[in-house]
């Protein structure tokens, strides 16, 4: 390449050198021998002087400089030569942006990798850098520049060094960049942000203590500026500089810093304190960023220069003025606003100060704490001798909220300091610290003070007083370190105060909530720090007391509140929860016993509350904690035991239902949260009880017998029903892997029960079908069955109800039985219909179970439903022959069967909270709703075509359910086909008041389609029919939401293409004018918007 590198043609030479440089960049890791490197670096060093080919030379130098030692490096002397040539030849500021960046990179590389070589250049180097850096503006180059200066200052740490002379000049250059004023647009420079630049500059600022005489005054000056970002930056820089410059250098400026800092804190803090339960134990750091930064700087300064700074704070006039004035105001609300802000600021300052170190804490306690105590009228000597001193004095001097607030701040700072320096505490515990002494002597008196603040708040409605009182007590109670600081009597007194509030003051929501929150905090604090001594008193006083109080006395409206308190306290620690659970369970068992034996209404109500609390609060908590499964297992087993032992069963019909419902819920949740082995135990246990108590032949069940059981609706005792329902609850909640014994007979049992109208049995059957194994495993006994077999049982049993013409022998037999049974019953027709309804409901749940796991047998079930929907019922024909006189009556009943069949689709595809969801371990196939939707909709559509108009309405109802519960995105993809069904469904449903919820759901789907872009395109073809339908719905009398949504849909339609909607404008406007006079305001409001939207497309002049 020789010729190209040395030719006199500038362009070719530049290209040649650049090529060589780029090659070297690519060869970064290839070993090269020293001689080659030497000659190359020599060449590039020379070329630095050649300004026309500079870029190549820079790239080459940089590539060589950055080589790792493994592949051969540039030697120190060569590096020095590069630096010399650089300084001599380069006029960095006269170069283009990219070259500038390269040359800065080169300098950075030189400084970082060959510090010794370049350091020997001394003054020349610094001067050169000053020269090249001055006036730089590009953000990328600035980043490098700041870094160069930072490294440079690190290179000359000694103040007597060369840098000292240049410190002023260098800082002149740096200082004009502060505060960073970043004007670049966001999209222009994504790589570098303002914050990056600010941080780089900060590092440069703080790189050497030599900048101190220039930097600190500049920063303080900018701190007093009104620009928030400048303030924030100054505070950050000051913090950083403080750390780097060292105590001695900072000492000179401390006074100035303090005064500006004070100013910043005082003006930036919010003046309003929050008195909500949430802020009770939050780290209530100020939201304001400036204030937060200022306080952290304050803390750093105090740590660094304790003595000096404390003197400043103690001697500060503003603070002492606050101290003098707070005693004038008796009440927090009397304090004027700006004074509140001051007070808050002083509180924060004291908090930070006291938190900073032991020494500062001492000092704060000495100066301020005792002063506060004087203001409050509390004195140490009383507390040491007689803890219960004259309360009248206290009451007279109470309510100095300002002082109380400040003492809270100091105390909490002190507590935080101990908590953060646990080890230091252990080491210094033998030395008698002042603050410790003071704290010990004042704590009883302070407790009294806080208590009184709290109690006297009952006279007025002062949130502040309550809040301050509770917070103060809470802080005192949560001092770490056992009883060494806060004596046992004090701690217990605090607990007793809280507990009494919990037990007595229900009427005052705020104080009650605060007290409860405080108790929970104390509990979790004890748990966190393993304070065994405190734990025992907490257990004795709080948990025991509240437990005992919760279950005696009246069970009026206060009872739920007590339960809330109980469960909240339980959540604060494992041992408490155990205790609470124990108490709860005892109460549940005792009350259940009452219910079982005496049928007591009162106990039923109590047990309902208890069980609700158990399933809403306790079980979710247990689910999050590990290792509590045993508790749930015990709970479930105990409930079963109790049922087993109670042979006299007197639960009255009236309250039974509610209790059974909550019991089943608790049972389901308890079982669902157990592991498989535990579930197996529970299932086994419950199965034993079930089989021993219910008088059904478990083996050899003939269909006939089964059917007869179905007819004996009222024969089974209510205890059996409880047992069965609870067993169903267990079955709903188990894992798929959990083994259910004797599946075949259980399935039959559930089948018969569901025919009696027991929905839970149907749900249980659905879950069983959902979870049964597809293939039989070797370990199973003959009584178990696979899914196929279970389905056979179910379908055989169910088919006869609907399919009378079937030729199967069993089914014909069933028909005969059916008919004879019907004759036996006085109200044959009625019972038959209700039987059919129950059967359909049961099938719907079973179908849901199948559908969710994606089993094809679900098709059989949906076919049954569809047959019900399209026929006017073949089962009905036989009755018609028998009793023609009852014709009208029957038709009506028949409608109810068909309606149930239509609603079965809602069960099939809708989500359910009670069973068959993730919580109860259902097997859920992904996208099952989509599959079902695309399978069933064409069938429904073709059926609609076939039928005469009268019987279509139930089909529309069924399809409405399917459309509502399918995810909107799926419906959208198929809009064109769905729209006719949807509109017909809307008009069919609008006839009956009862269907208004379904109607609304369907209308929401339509509005979802109209809001979507693709949906709009699909709708625009049938815009006319849609508008007709919506116009009708704007007059729907039974539901405001329907009218409102219909009008909103009309607004959306006004956005369709002009040609489509123009013909409809008069029709719509007339409808909307009527809607303007709607009884409901919300509809009128939408109507105004709608009218405007349509009027503006109609013509320029409105029809008034």
């Amino acid at each position: 390449m020789e010729g190209y590198l040395t030719t006199v043609d500038n362009i070719i030479r530049a290209r040649g050198i650049l090529l060589l440089g780029e090659v070297l960049v690519r060869l970064a890791s290839k070993p090269l021998d020293d001689a080659t490197i030497r000659s190359l670096i020599g060449f590039f060093t020379d070329r630095l002087a050649d300004w026309r080919a500079l870029r190549g030379a820079l790239v080459g130098c940089l590539a060589l400089m950055r080589r790792k030692s493994s592949g051969g490096m540039v030697s120190g002397s060569d590096a020095k030569a590069v630096a010399e040539s650089y300084l001599q030849n380069l006029q960095v500021q006269s170069l283009g942006q990219y070259e500038r960046k390269l040359s800065f990179e080169l300098m950075e590389c030189l400084l970082e990798r060959y510090p010794n070589a370049v350091a020997s250049l001394g003054d020349t180097l610094i001067y050169g850098i000053c020269e090249s850096v001055d006036g730089e503006k590009d953000p990328h180059c600035l980043m490098l520049t700041f870094h160069i200066i930072e490294v440079l200052s690190r290179l000359f740490p000694d103040p007597s060094d060369a840098l000292a002379g240049f410190a002023h000049e260098l800082f002149e250059i740096l200082g004009c960049y502060f505060p960073i004023h970043f004007t670049h647009q966001k999209d222009e420079d994504m790589t570098i942000k303002r914050d990056d630049l600010a941080r780089a500059l900060m590092l440069a600022f703080s790189s050497t203590p030599l900048f101190e005489p220039y930097a600190i005054p500049l920063l303080l000056e900018k701190l007093s500026s009104s620009l928030p970002s400048a303030k924030l930056d100054s505070l950050r820089y000051l913090t950083d500089c403080t750390m780097k410059y060292g105590a001695d250098r900072m000492a000179k400026h401390i006074e100035a810093i303090w005064s500006s800092l004070k100013e910043a804190i005082f003006t930036s803090l919010d003046s309003v304190l929050l008195f909500t339960p949430e802020s009770l134990e939050g780290s209530d750091l100020p939201k304001n960023e400036i204030a937060a930064e200022a306080l952290s700087l304050l803390q750093k300064l105090i740590v660094q220069n304790t003595k000096l700074f404390l003197d400043l704070i103690v001697g500060d006039e503003d603070i002492s003025m606050i101290f003098n004035t707070i005693s004038y105001y008796k009440n927090y609300h009397e304090i004027p606003l700006e004074r509140k802000q001051r007070l808050n600021a002083v509180g924060r300052v004291l908090f930070t100060t006291a938190k900073a170190s032991q020494v500062s804490c001492n000092r704060v306690f000495e100066c301020f704490f005792s002063q506060l105590m004087d203001i409050l009228g509390l004195s140490a000597r009383n507390s040491s001798g007689q803890p219960y001193f004259d309360e009248s004095i206290l009451i007279s001097k109470r309510c100095k909220h300002g002082a109380l607030y400040l003492s809270i701040e100091i105390l909490s700072a002190c507590r935080d300091m101990i908590a953060s320096s646990e080890t230091i505490l252990a080491a210094t515990s033998h030395t008698e610290e002042t603050w410790k002494h003071l704290l010990q002597s004042f704590s009883p008196a302070l407790t009294m003070g806080f208590c009184s603040a709290f109690i006297c708040s009952s006279e007025g409605t002062h949130d502040a007083a309550t809040y301050i009182g509770v917070k103060g007590l809470l802080i005192l109670a949560t001092f770490p370190g056992g009883y060494s600081l806060i004596s046992k009597t004090v701690f217990e007194k605090i607990l007793v105060t809280f507990v009494s509030i919990i037990n007595e003051e229900y009427s005052k929501r705020l104080s009650w909530k605060l007290a409860l929150k405080a108790l929970v905090e104390i509990g979790s604090f004890i748990e966190r720090y393993h304070e065994s001594e405190k734990e025992s008193s907490y257990m004795d006083i709080v948990v025991e007391k509240i437990l005992s109080l919760a279950f005696v006395g009246d069970f009026g409206i206060l009872f739920p509140l007590r339960l809330e308190a109980l469960s909240d306290i339980g959540t604060s620690g494992r041992s408490y929860m155990l205790k609470v659970v124990q108490g709860l369970e005892e109460a549940i068992y005792a009350n259940l016993y009452e219910v079982y034996v005496h049928g007591s209404t009162n106990s039923a109500e109590i047990v309902t509350h208890l069980l609700k609390c158990y399933s809403d609060k306790v079980i979710p908590w247990i689910r999050c904690e590990k290792g509590f499964e045993e508790v749930l297992l015990q709970f479930a087993i105990n409930i079963w035991n109790q049922i087993e032992s109670s042979t006299h069963f007197n639960a009255s019909q009236t309250n039974k239902k509610g209790v059974l419902d909550v019991m089943m819920k608790a049972m389901k949740l308890a079982v669902a949260n157990c592991s498989e082995e535990k579930q197996n135990i529970i299932v086994q246990k419950s199965y034993n009880i079930l089989s021993s108590s219910i008088s059904f032949p478990l083996e050899e069940l003939l269909l006939q017998e089964r059917f007869q059981i179905a007819q004996e609706v009222d024969n089974s005792s209510s205890r059996d029903e409880w047992v069965l329902s609870l067993f169903a609850a267990v079955t709903i909640a188990v894992h798929p892997q959990t083994h259910i014994p004797n599946t075949r007979s259980i399935v039959s049992l559930f089948m018969t029960t569901l025919l009696k109208g027991n929905v839970v049995a149907a749900q249980a059957l659905g879950s069983m079908v959902n979870k049964l194994d597809l293939k039989s495993t070797s370990g199973q006994t003959s009584s178990d069955c696979t899914l196929e077999e279970a389905m056979d049982i179910i379908l055989n049993l169910s088919l006869w109800i609907f399919d009378k013409n079937s030729s199967s022998s069993i089914q014909s037999k069933m028909i005969s039985v059916h008919d004879t049974a019907l004759n036996d019953l006085s109200n044959g027709v009625g019972s038959c219909t209700s039987l059919q309804i129950h059967a359909i409901l049961g099938l719907a749940w079973i179908g849901k179970g199948l559908l969710m796991r994606g089993h094809e047998k679900v098709n059989d079930i949906t076919m049954i439903f569809l047959q019900c929907l399209q026929s006017s019922g073949r089962a009905g024909i036989s009755h018609q022959e028998k009793s023609i006189s009852e014709n009208n009556y029957k038709l009506d009943l028949h409608n109810s069967v068909m309606k149930t069949a239509a609603d079965a689709f809602q069960i099939l595809i809708g989500d359910c909270e009670q069973c068959l969801n993730r919580e109860f371990h259902a097997i859920i196939r992904p996208l099952y709703k989509q599959r079902f939707f695309s399978a069933i909709m064409p069938v429904l559509q073709s059926l609609v075509m076939k039928l005469e108009p009268l019987s279509r309405s139930f089909l529309f109802r069924a399809s409405a359910h399917v459309i509502i519960d399918t995810p909107l995105i799926v419906v959208l993809s198929d809009t064109k086909k769905i729209i006719p069904m949807l509109l017909d469904g809307l008009s069919a449903l609008s006839n009956d008041v009862v269907d208004k919820e379904v109607l609304y759901g369907l209308l929401l789907v339509l509005s979802g389609i109209l809001m979507d872009k693709n949906g709009q395109e699909a709708v625009s073809d049938s815009a006319h029919t849609v508008v007709n339908c919506l116009v009708d719905l704007t007059r729907y009398p039974h539901m405001t939401l329907v009218r409102e949504t219909a009008v909103q849909c009309l607004i959306a339609i006004s956005g369709l293409s002009h040609a489509r909607i123009y013909p409809m404008r008069t029709q719509v406007l007339q409808a909307v004018i009527k809607a303007l006079d709607d009884p409901k305001r919300a509809v009128r409001r939408e109507a105004v918007r709608c009218r405007q939207a349509w009027a503006s497309i109609a013509s320029r002049s409105l029809h008034f």
């Binding site: 009398p1037 004018i1073 303007l1076 105004v1088 009218r1091 405007q1092």
Partner: protein, 158 residues
């Protein structure tokens, strides 16, 4: 047309907090909610002043108290206060109010738009002009005037 602004520097007041109606916990589906003062005020509060980018509410041209409404007799009267006495925009503001209410209220309503007594130099003339059906209809035939009205009404439909 006047070249400069009639009131170059009007006093801008703060917007009042939108009053939230306390709805019944269990709303009665068939109960009638009559049209009231606040509802009328909600219709017209956001109308823009013809010469400033502020709403009539911000300029205190209209207030809630200056609206009388009788839902039974289908009657509403709005009394507005021009910012300056000789304001030639008073008729335009009145026209805006009338058009907006015509478009927002059921057709059974009779509207009466008035300038507050003693706040305008030619009070009687303005009142007469605003409540003359023929003259209002004629004004709305004028495309320039209609454009102006529509521009003022635009924010109140948001």
């Amino acid at each position: 047309m006047v070249s400069g602004l009639i009131n170059a520097n009007p006093i801008v007041y703060e917007k009042k907090e939108r009053r939230v109606r306390n709805e019944a916990a269990v709303p009665d589906e068939y109960a009638v909610e009559p049209i009231d003062q606040l509802e009328i005020f909600d219709h017209i509060r956001d109308i823009k002043d013809p010469e400033h980018p502020y709403s009539l509410e911000e300029l205190k041209v209209i207030t809630e108290d200056a609206i009388e409404v009788d839902n039974e007799r289908s009657y509403v009267r709005v009394t507005f206060t021009p910012t300056v006495e000789h304001c030639s925009m008073a008729t335009v503001i009145g026209l805006c109010l009338r058009v907006k209410l015509m478009r927002s209220l059921p057709s059974r309503y009779k509207m009466d738009i008035r300038v507050a007594p003693g706040t305008h130099a030619t009070e009687a003339a303005v009142n007469k002009q605003l409540n003359d059906k023929e003259r209002v209809a004629a004004a709305l035939e004028n495309p320039n005037l209609l454009d102006m009205v529509d521009e003022c009404l635009a924010p109140s439909y948001a």
